[in-house]
C-alpha cells in the first residue's frame, strides 16, 4: 500500500465529510434531500451533471480503452457531448417545467394513475440499481488496485462513504462533492496535460504520431470493423446517446434548479465540461502508449484501467500519482452518490408517498422515508456488488443504458411532445421496451459468449425502435378518455411554455 496515496485519500475523504456536514445542516426537508430545494445555480448544476456522468469507469476506462484499443476507445466518449447537447435541446426545459422530484412526476402529469407511477418508478429503480451495481463493482476493483486492499474492504469503504454522503448531505451534499470532483479533475488534468506536452515539445499531435511510430497506424483506427462487430459499435453509440436522454440520475438534475433559464445554462456548462474532458483524453492516452508502453499498461491491469495513474507516476512521481488516485476515488464516490439519491427518490417519493400513503404523508414523514430509502439502497447496492464481485458485470452498464433508451425514453418523449399519446401506450411501451432490451442483453455474446442467440453485444439499435413502435402502437389500442385528452392538451403546452401554474408537480 502506497503511504502517499493513502494520505491523499484520507485528506480527500476528510474534505468530502466536511462538505457533507455543512450540507446536512441544510438538509431539513424532503425537497432539500431530493433536489437541493431547487436552488442550485447553472454552473453548480452543470458541473454536478458532468460529475454525475464522468464516473470512475469513464475516467479510467476511456483512457485505458484508447491506449489499448485505438479508435475503439473513442467510442466510449464520442456520444456523451452529443447526448448532453440533445438533453439541453430536447429535455432540459420540459423536465424543469413539469417535474418536481422524480421522472415519474413528469409522466404522471400526463397520466395520473397509480399503475403508471408504479411502472415508471420500478423502471427508474431497476435502471439505477443495475447501473449502480456495475459502477460499484468496477469502483471496488479500482480502489482495491489503488490502495492494495481486498475487494470486499474496498467495496465496504465506498458503500459506507456513499451512505454517509447521501443520507446526511442529501442532494446538496452530493452536488458539492461532484463540484469538488470536477475541480480536482480539472486541476489534475491541466497539470497532467502540461507535464505530458512538455515531453512532446508542446505539440499535442506528436503524442499520437509517436504512438504510430512505435505501434503502427492501427493505434488510430477501429479494430471492431465490419459485420456484427461494426453493428455492435453502431448500436453502442445509439444506446449511449439515447440512453443518456433518459438516465434518471442525469434527468433529475434538472429539478435542482429554480427555472428553465438555469436549466439551460447548467446544460451548457455540462456540455463544455464534457467537450474539454473528452478532448483531453486521447492526448493523455496516446502519451501513455508512448511513455509507459502497452505492455506495462496491461501488466498493471489487463483492462487498462490504471493507464492514467501509470502516466501520472512516470511524469509527476508518487505525489502526483497520489493526487490523481484521490481524484479517481472522489470521482467514483461522487457519481455513485447521485445514483443512490435517484433510486431512493423513486422509492421514497413515488412508491412510499404516492402509492402507499396515497400522497397524504407529511413533509417530515417523506423526509424520513427519503433518508431510510437512501440507506436501504446504499446497503442493497453494496450487498449485490459484494455478491457479484466474481461475475463479469460489464453487461450491466449496457443493460442500464438499453433499458433507459428502450423503456423510459419513448414514454418521456411522447409524454412531453405528442398529444395522441395514451395510457395504454405508456404501459405497453414501458413493458415491451423493458422486456425486449433485457432479453436481448441476456442472449447477447456479452452474457452467453460464443453460442449467443442475439449476435450484437449492444441491443439498442433494435430495442429502442421496438420500444418507440410499441409505445406508438399501444396508444391506438383504445380510444382516449376525455380526461386523457384534456391532460394531453395541458401537458404538451405546459412542457413548452413557462406558464405560472406549471411550476411544480407531484
Amino acid at each position: 500500500m502506497n503511504a502517499t496515496v493513502v494520505g491523499f485519500f484520507v485528506v480527500t475523504v476528510a474534505a468530502t465529510l466536511v462538505i457533507t456536514f455543512v450540507a446536512s445542516r441544510r438538509n431539513v426537508s424532503v425537497a432539500s434531500h431530493y433536489v437541493a430545494d431547487g436552488q442550485l445555480t447553472g454552473w453548480q448544476n452543470g458541473l454536478a451533471i458532468a460529475g454525475d456522468y464522468i464516473s470512475g469507469a469513464t475516467l479510467l476506462g476511456t483512457i485505458g480503452g484508447i491506449a489499448l484499443l485505438g479508435f475503439d476507445g473513442f467510442f466510449f466518449g464520442l456520444g456523451s457531448p452529443v447526448a448532453i447537447a440533445l438533453v439541453l435541446i430536447v429535455m432540459a426545459e420540459p423536465l424543469r417545467r413539469l417535474g418536481r422530484f422524480t421522472i415519474s412526476d413528469v409522466v404522471t402529469r400526463r397520466f395520473d394513475k397509480t399503475e403508471v407511477r408504479v411502472l415508471a418508478s420500478l423502471n427508474v429503480v431497476s435502471i439505477t440499481m443495475v447501473y449502480m451495481v456495475a459502477q460499484f463493482v468496477g469502483a471496488g476493483a479500482i480502489v482495491s488496485l489503488l490502495l492494495g486492499i481486498p475487494f470486499t474492504v474496498a467495496a465496504i469503504i465506498i458503500g459506507v462513504l456513499m451512505l454517509v454522503y447521501t443520507t446526511f448531505g442529501g442532494m446538496l451534499g452530493a452536488t458539492w462533492i461532484q463540484i469538488l470532483q470536477m475541480a480536482l479533475l480539472a486541476v489534475g488534468f491541466v497539470v497532467l496535460l502540461g507535464l505530458t506536452l512538455a515531453k512532446f515539445d508542446f505539440n499535442p499531435l506528436a503524442t499520437a504520431a509517436d504512438a504510430v511510430d512505435v505501434y503502427g497506424a492501427g493505434v488510430l483506427t477501429s479494430q471492431s470493423t465490419g459485420g456484427t462487430a461494426g453493428f455492435s459499435t453502431l448500436s453502442l453509440q445509439f444506446g449511449i446517446v439515447l440512453g443518456f436522454l433518459a438516465m434518471p440520475h442525469v434527468m433529475i438534475r434538472f429539478f435542482t434548479v429554480p427555472d428553465t433559464r438555469t436549466a439551460r445554462s447548467s446544460a451548457v456548462t455540462a456540455t463544455w465540461a464534457f467537450a474539454l474532458f473528452y478532448a483531453a483524453l486521447p492526448i493523455v492516452a496516446y502519451a501513455a502508449v508512448v511513455l509507459v508502453g502497452r505492455e506495462s499498461i496491461t501488466d498493471a491491469d489487463p483492462g487498462g484501467n490504471l493507464t492514467v495513474l501509470l502516466l501520472s507516476r512516470l511524469l509527476g512521481g508518487d505525489v502526483f500519482l497520489a493526487f490523481m488516485a484521490a481524484v479517481a476515488l472522489v470521482t467514483i464516490m461522487a457519481s455513485l452518490s447521485g445514483m443512490c439519491i435517484t433510486a431512493a427518490g423513486a422509492f421514497g417519493h413515488d412508491l412510499y408517498t404516492h402509492v402507499l400513503k396515497k400522497g397524504r404523508a407529511t413533509d417530515r414523514q417523506q423526509h424520513n422515508a427519503a433518508r431510510l430509502a437512501t440507506v436501504g439502497f446504499a446497503l442493497v447496492a453494496l450487498a449485490i456488488s459484494l455478491a457479484a464481485q466474481s461475475f463479469n458485470v460489464a453487461f450491466l452498464s449496457t443493460l442500464a443504458f438499453a433499458v433507459a433508451a428502450s423503456a423510459n425514453l419513448p414514454t418521456l418523449v411522447f409524454s412531453l411532445f405528442w398529444r395522441g399519446f395514451r395510457l395504454s401506450g405508456a404501459v405497453v411501451g414501458m413493458s415491451v421496451g423493458l422486456v425486449v432490451s433485457v432479453a436481448l442483453v441476456l442472449t447477447s455474446p456479452t452474457v452467453m459468449g460464443d453460442g449467443a442467440w442475439f449476435p450484437l453485444t449492444n441491443p439498442s439499435i433494435i430495442s429502442v425502435p421496438v420500444g418507440f413502435l410499441a409505445t406508438w402502437l399501444g396508444s391506438y389500442l383504445r380510444p382516449a378518455t376525455g380526461e386523457e385528452e384534456s391532460a394531453a392538451e395541458t401537458v404538451t403546452v405546459s412542457a413548452q411554455l413557462d406558464l405560472p401554474e406549471t411550476g411544480a408537480a407531484g
Partner: protein
C-alpha cells in the same frame, strides 16, 4: 432542431469508421480523418448549445416584451 445533425454526424462517423477504411488515412502524422471528425463531434455540441441558448434568450425577451405590452395600461387599452 440543432441536435439532430449532431446525432446524424456521430452515427455517420461511427458507420464510416467501422464499415469502411475511408477515414483511416493519415492527414498529418498522428491524425487521420476519423480523429479529426471525432474532435468535431467533441466540440460541435458546444457550438450547438450556445446557438440554442442565444435563440431561446431572444425568444424569452420577445415574450417578455409582449407580456409587458399586454399588461401595461396603454397596451390593455390598445
Amino acid at each position: 432542431m440543432t441536435g439532430l445533425p449532431l446525432f446524424v454526424l456521430l452515427m455517420v462517423l461511427t458507420a464510416l469508421t467501422v464499415f469502411t477504411d475511408l477515414l483511416d488515412e493519415q492527414l498529418v502524422p498522428g491524425v487521420n480523418l476519423a480523429i479529426l471528425l471525432a474532435y468535431v463531434v467533441f466540440f460541435a455540441p458546444v457550438v450547438a448549445a450556445h446557438v440554442y441558448v442565444s435563440r431561446m434568450r431572444a425568444l424569452d425577451e420577445l415574450a417578455q416584451q409582449a407580456m409587458d405590452e399586454a399588461t401595461s395600461p396603454a397596451g390593455g387599452r390598445a
